[in-house]
Symmetry: D2
Subunit: 154 residues, 4 copies
């Protein structure tokens, strides 16, 4: 098998200040009630936040491996509005609401077409390997402020 560059995982993109990340619903995501299990929306949202960092040029894996720190969810307020089903093509739309020295606040909505299925405010804190809160790398904070202004190609 030669990989000619076509077989790449999905990547989100910025449309102004909004990051958009597509998700497909698989068996693993559903439960016996026939729809997506509520905790799995948090997985979809985390994938979208990780993708948002990647697209913005921020390498969180390198920061973790260098022992600098990692993002941890500190708080989340989520509303479930309509169910998602097997095979549904969803979109996670994310926007930075606030950028502080040691944490950011993100609004995320999971949509199927024009219908909002779930939406949340997420507080993600930068945490030292030993567990305490810590200032994010200054360059990242600057980058986040650009993204809030809809300048993804900084």
């Amino acid at each position: 098998m030669v990989n000619d560059g076509r077989d790449q995982p999905v990547e989100g993109r910025f449309d102004g200040a909004e990051h958009r990340f597509p998700v497909r619903v698989y068996f693993e995501d559903t439960d016996l009630s026939g729809v997506v299990y509520h905790a799995n929306y948090l997985r979809f949202m985390e994938r979208a936040r990780s993708d948002m960092l990647r697209v913005a040029g921020i390498d969180q894996r390198a920061a973790m491996e260098a022992g600098e720190g990692a993002y941890a969810v500190a708080r989340m307020n989520i509303r479930y509005l309509a169910p998602a089903r097997l095979d549904d093509a969803l979109l996670v739309a994310s926007k930075l609401l606030k950028v502080h020295a040691a944490h950011v606040v993100v609004h995320q909505a999971v949509r199927r077409g024009e219908v909002i299925l779930a939406e949340a405010e997420v507080v993600a804190a930068w945490v030292a390997p030993e567990g305490g809160p810590k200032r994010q790398p200054a360059e990242w904070t600057r980058r986040f402020k650009e993204l809030m202004l809809g300048e993804p190609q900084a």
Copy 2:
């Protein structure tokens, strides 16, 4: 192998109005940051709510199989205060805050000893098989009100 009744899954119990449900942290619950992945606290809390129903004598599987309805999380507000690690013995403490005709509000805290690791308010709505909100069985509503008053052995 003869099962002599000893090998039973853990069951929670009521202490007054508080339901207590123990959870062990396994590999599946952690992520590469070394601690429990944030979405997995929602799994722990759902286990505790399901156990609370079982201990209270409510059979949600029978209700689902009879096509009556199922509980769906409508809203959740969760704070993450301290991390949990592999092998930790946790306790999920749950209390009914409000009982309405078509939904209940539950406060849940995940503790390790005296330390609160996460806490949440959860709105669980009773939903018809077609998806709309619906009154819970009257007997269940009555039962929940007893539980709120700390009368688990009604």
Copy 3:
């Protein structure tokens, strides 16, 4: 937000008889040992099999909703050869090995570039809603035989 068709989930494709499906590794997939948790390769492989059906024009959700049946894994033999890490771009390569009336055998390999991380033979049986084995729709069996011969555009 207007969806202009760009924000779609990833879709695999056939290269001759081989179906290729890309997967990105997220936090949810790893455990505290720093690499992908072994059970999660089964999720990746199931996503690839579901995608293979979709790309081949087979609608398993419609068949489930019509009460016809569903695929269930009957047997799986998996070897783990090398670990996958956060952010890795993986490829699941799947090939039908055998097509029987009531089950198929699929070979699946999870690769990162040229390195095989895990590979498995999976027996997937078509099961009636009551649980017993059942012949797959005749059209599907015919379709699978074309796919084995590397004729995806039947």
Copy 4:
């Protein structure tokens, strides 16, 4: 809340050479087909293997934190025989089949009463933090050989 020692997670036990570990099925374990999702049996089996180590007096978390190594599944051959449903009380029965210097082979069966739902042979290899195979601690190998002979209280 005072924890008086009653609210502990379930612990398995040895009956001769067989380790028995109870598991309850929750919503998170099922998928829309109404039964336990196939990959989740691997989670149940891993919980049982971790419990087996704990009951045998082996502290894998301490070994990981000391940088000695960790177990990784190298191979697994699993048969799915009958489905498990929400609320089912299951038992994972595990037996060591072989003990080698750098890996062990375990037979595991998931049962509901007398019915075997799934069974597997699992090869678990001891792996250095950098990823290569490594001899298990000599004391552990000795302990495993006692367990194979049905001498859990060594």
